[in-house]
């Protein structure tokens, strides 16, 4: 098994294309995307707005059925699953057990009408946990882990700041120890110092929990800090991919060169 883990990927995307029904002529949001994701690796997808990053992520998550191509996922029982061939029920089970999804807008990934503790406990209850005391202690443990004040366990996330909501969303996803976490621009919309602390947290959790994460971002700094590998997307195509340091320090594709040179340094 461990040998297998190193060689076989966790997620395999092949020839994935997606064209929205409303798109003009032959414009594809994603075209011919190939990618492999291995256990314990953090991969970033970078590119400008409208380059198809989020569409690719949603196709991988099973939220959008791609026009072409396949997404295969190696499950905890070491079986390859064709994500888009699963029934909706199987997809939902996968999404709330082995996968996590951190939304760009925390209010979409949280239940704002219930307390922070209930938000963290929901996935556990979904998996059949019916012991209040244990739910409570895992919620406390996770609030500590994402550096939220445990005195606020019974507060509504409505009263939380943007950064705190994002931390809560991460805790809510990681509480069941998913094998694969998809993050859609988790730090955008937060101010710089809050961003930096959140990135620190994600990096620490990724290392400690040996997470496999795919993170979509327009911020090269986020890729630099978190990801071992980076994919650059433009007009729906993956134009370059490789080790993050290589891609950012020695960009080969003209677009990547442009992207790297456009970073504003203070």
């Amino acid at each position: 098994m461990p040998m297998n883990d190193c060689t076989e990927p966790l997620l395999r995307v092949r020839g994935l294309s997606h064209r929205f029904a409303s798109a003009r002529d032959e414009r594809h949001a994603v075209r011919d995307a190939d990618l492999d994701l291995h256990a314990g690796e953090v991969v970033a997808i970078v590119g400008e707005s409208g380059s198809g990053k989020s569409t690719l992520l949603n196709c991988i998550a099973g939220r959008i059925a791609p026009t072409q191509g396949q997404v295969h996922y190696r499950s905890a029982e070491d079986r390859w699953l064709d994500v888009h061939a699963l029934t909706e029920r199987q997809q939902r089970v996968l999404a709330r057990t082995e996968w996590g999804f951190v939304e760009q807008n925390a209010s979409e990934g949280l239940r704002l009408q219930v307390s922070a503790g209930a938000n963290i406990g929901e996935r556990l209850m979904g998996q059949g946990e019916r012991h209040y005391g244990r739910l409570r202690s895992s919620a406390e443990r996770w609030m500590q882990r994402v550096e939220l004040d445990i005195d606020r366990i019974d507060d509504s996330p409505r009263a939380f700041s943007g950064g705190m909501r994002q931390r809560l969303q991460i805790a809510r996803n990681l509480v069941t120890r998913p094998r694969l976490v998809l993050l859609d621009e988790p730090t955008s919309g937060l101010d710089v110092s809050v961003q930096a602390r959140l990135l620190d947290l994600i990096r620490m959790l990724a290392t400690r929990m040996h997470l496999c994460a795919l993170i979509v971002t327009h911020d090269l700094g986020v890729a630099r800090l978190l990801a071992q590998r980076t994919l650059v997307m433009r007009h729906g195509r993956i134009v370059e991919q490789g080790l993050t340091d290589r891609v950012l320090d020695d960009p080969q594709h003209p677009y990547t060169q442009l992207l790297v040179s456009s970073v504003v340094a203070p």
């Binding site: 909706e88 029920r89 939902r92 089970v93 709330r96 239940r111 009408q113 219930v114 307390s115 503790g117 209930a118 406990g121 929901e122 996935r123 556990l124 209850m125 979904g126 998996q127 019916r130 012991h131 209040y132 005391g133 739910l135 409570r136 366990i153 019974d154």
Partner: protein, 286 residues
């Protein structure tokens, strides 16, 4: 008995509508706790006054049936009297206030104290059939949650009660799991009545007129109230006795009189009257 009103079909609804409702009811009985959509009709009273329950009763009632209608346990409230008269005048069936004599009991907010027997039908008026409604307002989504048996959300509500109040504060419309499969709203009956639904020998039918849903619990079906292992569901005793009949075990209503004095009486008027007839007395007679 009231004279049968002329110009109306038996039980007000036309035969094709009754047939449609019966077909939906058969499906509902076949899948205990599952909400079945039906073509709810306009009734001669407003939504929220029991249009769902009336349509179910109209669909199942026959000339030989004996009907009892209660509202909050009482046979004498406006809603109960009106619905009873409605069926008396459109069907000519015999009506009663005695639980044991009735073949069909239409109810709002209570289950009679007298245990129901095989052959009886209990029809509930339901305002909101979707137990997940407060946490997930989208119908399309709750349908999927039921289909996938994804009920973590339901416990989120109980968790929230415990976290905020230290105990489950849901004292009515307390969600139940039917036959180990579907989570169901028991309609706004007090949680006190929930245990009565468990393996009840009578057939239980639920109608939500505005929401256009029917559901059912066949006789002798398991009905469990949702809870946590370390906070099991329990019915809390009132700690009071009925002023009229002295009962401490039935569901009591708290009544404040003009002098501000608080009295407790049985919510089930038939139960209370029956006990008084059998010689039980409360403080009122001392």
């Amino acid at each position: 008995m009231t004279a049968i009103a002329e110009g109306y079909n038996f039980a007000y609804l036309d035969e094709r509508t009754k047939k449609m409702i019966r077909r939906a009811l058969l499906k509902a009985v076949a899948i205990p706790g599952h909400q079945v959509p039906f073509g709810s009709r306009e009734m001669p009273l407003a939504y929220g006054w029991g249009t769902g329950g009336i349509q179910v009763t109209a669909a199942v009632i026959g000339a030989d049936d004996v009907l009892k209608v209660i509202d909050q346990g009482s046979d004498d409230t406006t809603n109960a009297v009106n619905i009873r008269q409605f069926f008396a005048s459109t069907t000519g069936v015999r009506t009663t206030t005695r639980t044991a004599d009735a073949t069909i009991i239409q109810t709002r907010h209570r289950i009679p104290e007298t245990p129901l027997a095989a052959g009886q039908i209990l029809v509930y008026q339901v305002p909101q059939p979707e137990p997940l409604y407060r946490l997930e307002a989208r119908r399309t989504e709750t349908t999927k949650l039921h289909a996938a048996e994804e009920y973590g959300l339901m416990n989120v509500k109980l968790y929230e009660d415990l976290a905020q109040w230290g105990r489950v504060e849901t004292s009515y419309d307390y969600p139940v799991k039917v036959d180990g499969r579907y989570v169901m709203s028991p309609s706004p009956i007090p949680a006190f009545d929930n245990p009565k639904m468990h393996r009840m020998p009578a057939l239980q039918l639920f109608g939500a007129g505005r929401e256009k849903r029917l559901y059912a619990i066949p006789p002798h079906t398991d009905v469990r109230s949702l809870d946590f292992e370390d906070h099991p569901f329990q019915v809390e005793p009132h700690g009071h006795a009925c002023e009229r009949c002295g009962d401490t075990a039935s569901f009591l209503d708290e009544i404040t009189d003009a002098q501000g004095r608080v009295q407790w009486t049985c919510s089930d008027t038939d139960w209370c009257a029956d006990r008084v007839d059998r010689g039980h007395t409360g403080h009122a007679h001392e």
